[in-house]
Every structure is written in C-alpha cells, then in structure tokens.
C-alpha cells in the first residue's frame, strides 16, 4: 500500500519532471511537424498583404459573426465561460503562480482566492454545458469522436480535483492534492498528441486564413 504522502512526493517530483518534458518536447515536435510541410510560393499578383491581415484574423476570430452566434449561442457562451474559468484558475491562483516561479524563474500577481474559486466553478459549469451540448446538439454529436471526450475529461479532471483539494473535500489531503497534480500531468503528457494542441496551432490556422484572404484583398 502506497502512503498518500509518498504518492504526493512522487507526483510532485519525478512524474512532474517527466510530464513537463514530454509536454515541451511534444509541442516543439508537433509544431515542427506542421511547419516543415511548408506551402508553395504564390505566383498570382497580390491585391493585399499577408502579414497584417493574418495578425488581424488572429484577433478577430475571438468574436463570432453575429448571425452565426444567434444560430448557435450555447456553443459560443459555454465555450467562452469554460475557457475563461480555466485560464483564471490556471494562471491566477497564487499557489500555481508560485509553482511557475519555482519552475521557470518568473511569476506575476495572482487574484484573490474567492475570485479564483468562482472562476473554477464557472469552468466546471462551462465544461458540463459543453459536454451536454456535445451529447445533444445533432451536429456536434455526429462530429464527435472518442478523442473529443478524452480531451474533455483531461480538461475537466484538473478543475474538479483542484476544487475538491482547495475545499479540503477529500481526506487525506495529500491524496487529493496528489490526484490533482496527477490529472495535470496526464493533461501535459497527452496535450501535444491530441486536440489540446489547438491552444497553439489556432494561431497558425488563423494567421494562414487571414493571410490567404488578405492576399486577395479580403479581411477574414
């Protein structure tokens, strides 16, 4: 029988180092895998430029087009709610920032814990709404495959275990804290090899889209 404390020490030590390494190396590999495919030079005389419109599209795709939003508000709202909840609880919880500072040597100010706590609840509720949408919306139901549900779980578990750990809702505490860290490690390990990669590749995708349209004189 492994003691909860030994488990916590292991996930905070070896397991963390290994998963963080896989995360970083994996992302570099995946980005190389994409960019090394290159794209053919375009010989048609351009009407507009590529770089500026590409950068602009990176920003503008954060806002949905009004008509599309009206037809599918749940996808947009639930998507926003869970992403914001997730980002606040990940990047503005003081112990998280301390861990970043200890690992990478720099930190930033955090938010008061009640705000982070509320954000976590938002994140959890948002993710549940996203799951419900995926299971019931006919388009999403048809599109979704096992990976979509896997990445949902990988995102949900850290929020849930984090909430349980912070509120001391599981005894012993080292066990739930250990499980929280383990869930993050699973997230880190699988991140580069699943759709979680969209976190990074969407910048490439939006830029290519904006650039290809921009060349023709259309702001996409």
């Amino acid at each position: 029988m492994i003691e909860p404390m030994d488990f916590l020490l292991w996930v905070r030590g070896t397991a963390f180092d290994v998963s963080l390494s896989i995360f970083v190396i994996g992302i570099v590999l995946r980005l190389f895998e994409i960019l090394s495919l290159g794209r053919a030079a375009n010989l048609a005389e351009p009407r507009g430029t590529e770089f500026g419109p590409g950068m602009k599209t990176i920003l503008t795709r954060n806002i949905p087009e009004a008509g599309t939003f009206k037809r599918q508000p749940l996808t947009v709202i639930a998507g926003y709610v869970f992403h914001i909840g997730l980002l606040i609880s990940l990047f503005f919880f003081v112990p998280h920032i301390q861990l970043f500072a200890a690992t990478f040597g720099f930190g930033w100010p955090g938010l008061p814990t009640p705000i982070v706590d509320a954000a976590t609840v938002l994140g959890i509720v948002g993710l549940l709404a996203v799951l419900w949408n995926r299971l019931t919306n006919p388009v999403m139901k048809l599109l979704s495959d096992k990976e979509d549900y896997l990445v949902w779980l990988l995102t949900f578990l850290p929020l849930l275990t984090g909430y349980l750990a912070y509120h001391r809702m599981v005894d012993p505490y080292p066990l739930i804290l250990g499980l929280h860290i383990l869930s993050i490690e699973l997230f880190l390990i699988l991140f580069p090899f699943t759709k979680l990669m969209h976190t990074f590749t969407l910048f490439l995708a939006r830029w290519y889209n904006g650039a290809m349209h921009g060349r023709r004189g259309v702001q996409s």
Binding site: G67, T75, G79, D148, T201, N209, S220
Partner: protein, 423 residues
C-alpha cells in the same frame, strides 16, 4: 488522363497536405460552428452537411500519416483506412453539397479555411474516379471542344454577327496589340449575349482598346470546379497563349465567379510562372472607367434594387466596393440584403453544383436562403455579376413562383450609359 484508382486518389490527397492544412486539422475541436455558416446545413438541418465533416477522407490521411499519434495508432491497427466505398459515399458531400462558397472559412473560430480544403479533397476524388459524371463530362467537353457547354467558335461568331447587325457596334476579334482581351463564359455566349453587346457599347464610349480571341474566349474552368489541376492548367494555358499571341496588357475576367478564381488567383500557380499581363475583373475595370470619368450614366432608376455578391468575386476575390460604386451610377434606390458583401450567402449553384444533376433537388431546397434574403431586402429587382449565379437564381425564383427580375450589372450599366451622340 491515366486511369483513376484508389491509390492515385490517396496520393493526390497526400500531395495536397501542406502546412496550412496541417495547422487547420490540428486546430479543429469539432465545435460544429461551420455548420451554421453553410446553407446546405441551415436549410436542411441535416448534420451530415457540416463543412468540416466533408473533409474526413483528407483528415484521416493527415492524422494517420502526418502526425506522431496517428502513425502509432496506424501501426497498432487502431485506425480506419480511407477506402473506395468511403470516397464514393463522400461524393455527395464534396460535390453536391458544397459550392466552395467559403462562408464557413470566415466563421470557423480557430480559423480553418475549410473551402480551401474542400477544393483540395476534390483532387483526390478526381484521381480516384469519384467525381460526379455530369461534371466529368463538362470537363471533357471543355478540354476537347473548348467550352463546358460544348459551345464552339462558330456559335460565338454567329452571336457576334447578330449583335453587330442589330446594334451597328463592332466586336473586335483577334486584334493584335489591343490593350484588353475580354473573356466570356459559355453562358454569356448562349444565355446572356447582352453581356457582349454591353461590353462593346461601354468600351466604345470609354475608348477602351479591346479584343476577343478566337482561340481563347472561354473563361470558365471546369478543372477548378471538378478539382483537377491537370485540366485546370490546360484551360488556363489556352488563355495565356491567346493573350501572349495578341500581346495584350490586360485580360478581363467576365461576370462569372469561378472564372475569376481560375484566371486571377489560381492561373499563375497552375502554369508555374507569373503572367506577362494583368488580370482584371470586368467590375474592377468598369469602376476604374467610372473613377477616371471615362463613362457616365443617365436616368438612374428609382426602383428598389439589390445586389447578389457572387462568392468567388467578393468573399474569395476581394471585389467588394466596385459593384456598389457602379450600382450608385444606375440606381437611386439601392438596398443591401441582410448578410451582404463578404457575408453573402451563395446562390447554391457555385463550384460545379449547377452542372451536377445529382444536386438539383438539394440546390432547390437550399435556395430558400436566397429567397428569404431577397424578401427581406425590400427590393424588386436583383442585380448580380455572375452568369451562373444569375441562371441558378432565375431557376430558383421560378421554382418558388417568385416574380423578381434578375439582371447583370454590366448590362444595367450599358442601359444607362451616356453615349457620345447624346453628350
């Protein structure tokens, strides 16, 4: 062309995968928002028409052969291969229910250019023998006869004779050293010869030196529609040869959507070198003539008129303001449709759909989108700038028993043109 096989199809798909495609597939989280941008989904409610799903054959190849996890999954037998049956089943999704209108590409939250990828998947469909027979025959006619509708030079010469006799205008053919070489779409030769007459009238007034080319008058490019680089290249090469022979400075793309994509944006890439001439869309040229004061109009109509933006010219071509400037010359009561300009909805017949009899019923169903747009516009006349849109819309209006005259913008401008005699 060599025989179509699954292997050739898969190879064609592999050749299409580049950095943008890999970035797009890596970013898709199956959110389904693209469905809401596609009239084939909004008008039928059938989730199978979700744009991103139409790319599944190429996505599978990408995942299995171009990603670490996919390669491992394939190695241990966890992946589903792309089969002939799958491609056959996808024919409807790739051809009958996608007009390459590109509206989904503007909506995708992660920025995927889905229409760009559908065009790429078509290369695999052609190489594997899964393109629709109707579009195939149109492509064969285009290569062998010179026009997808089977229209020969003789038919054009007959139309020219008619126009010259009726109007006293001169339609120049094969004039070496002219500034502009005008291209036509087969539909303009047969269904809308008014376009040719309008060009002659406007160019005469504006003093534009122009010509048609007897060896290269067809602007449409079935290779672009069906998704065959080989055919597309051959058809573009004819235009380039004609323009180089006549030593023109400009080639004019007519009121046809995909012809503009073919000659303006894909052309130089197809033949592998920049053009020694410039390509302009007729609306761009007319707008230039307007801006420089070389043409003027009279008696603008007060009747409410609206404009249908052809996808290939506006959203995918960047000619957005020119038609509006020109409409202001001929109308005092121009009304925009809801969702206009780059957000316009397709007529439902672009990208080869109107040539595909398998798509007829579906095309009529999805026309409801245009129907409601027209009703909401408050206009009584529709102007457009694409012969294919025009025919598709006229057919749709007839199907839904709507009285709504449709006209071409160039034609409308010619009607209101101030001639030298008058001035």
């Amino acid at each position: 062309m060599s025989t179509a096989t699954l292997e050739r199809g898969l190879n064609a798909l592999r050749e299409q995968i580049d950095a943008p495609v890999a970035a797009f597939f890596s970013s898709c989280v199956n959110c389904g928002m693209c469905a809401e941008a596609c009239l084939f989904y909004t008008e039928t409610g059938d989730p199978k028409y979700t744009p991103i799903r139409k790319l599944e054959p190429m996505r599978l190849i990408w995942e299995q052969e171009y990603t670490i996890a996919g390669k491992i999954k394939k190695l241990i037998g966890l992946s589903e291969p792309v089969t002939d049956e799958m491609l056959e089943q996808w024919q409807e999704l790739i051809y009958a229910s996608c007009t390459l209108c590109g509206r989904c590409s503007l909506v995708c939250p992660v920025g995927n250019d889905i229409a760009f990828m559908v065009r790429k998947v078509r290369e695999g469909m052609v190489a594997s023998g899964n393109s629709p027979p109707d579009v195939q025959s149109a492509a064969i006619r285009a290569v062998k006869i010179g026009s997808p509708m089977g229209i020969r030079l003789k038919a054009l010469q007959a139309q020219i004779k008619h126009i010259e006799a009726d109007t006293g205008l001169k339609i120049p053919v094969d004039v070496e050293g002219a500034d502009y070489m005008a291209l036509l779409s087969s539909m303009e030769v047969i269904n809308f010869p008014e376009y040719v007459e309008s060009l002659a009238k406007i160019f005469k007034e504006a003093g534009v030196s122009w010509t048609l080319c007897s060896e290269a008058f067809e602007a449409t490019n079935t290779g672009i529609q069906i998704g065959s680089t080989d055919i597309a290249r051959e058809l573009v090469q004819r235009v380039v040869d004609g323009a180089e022979k006549l030593k023109v400075k400009y080639v004019i793309s007519p009121e046809c959507g995909h012809a503009y994509t073919a000659i303006r944006w894909d052309g130089p890439n197809l033949i592998g070198r920049p053009f020694p001439f410039k390509v302009v869309h007729i609306l761009e040229l007319l707008d230039e003539l307007r801006a420089s004061g070389r043409i003027s109009t009279k008696d603008p109509s007060g009747e409410p008129v609206t404009f249908h933006d052809p996808c290939s010219i506006v959203r995918k071509g960047g000619v957005v303001e020119s038609p509006r400037h020109l409409l202001d010359m001929v109308s005092t009561n121009f009304k925009e449709m809801p969702d206009h300009g780059k957000w316009n909805w397709c007529c439902g017949g672009g990208g080869g759909v109107s040539a595909n009899t398998d798509a007829e019923e579906l095309r009529t169903r999805v026309f409801r989108r245009k129907k409601s747009q027209l009703e909401e516009s408050g206009a009584t006349t529709l102007v457009t700038a694409c012969a294919n849109c025009r025919l598709v819309i006229e057919e749709g209006l007839e199907e839904y028993n709507m009285e709504f005259p449709v006209t071409g913008l160039t034609e409308m401008l010619a009607e209101h043109l101030v001639t030298k005699e008058e001035a």
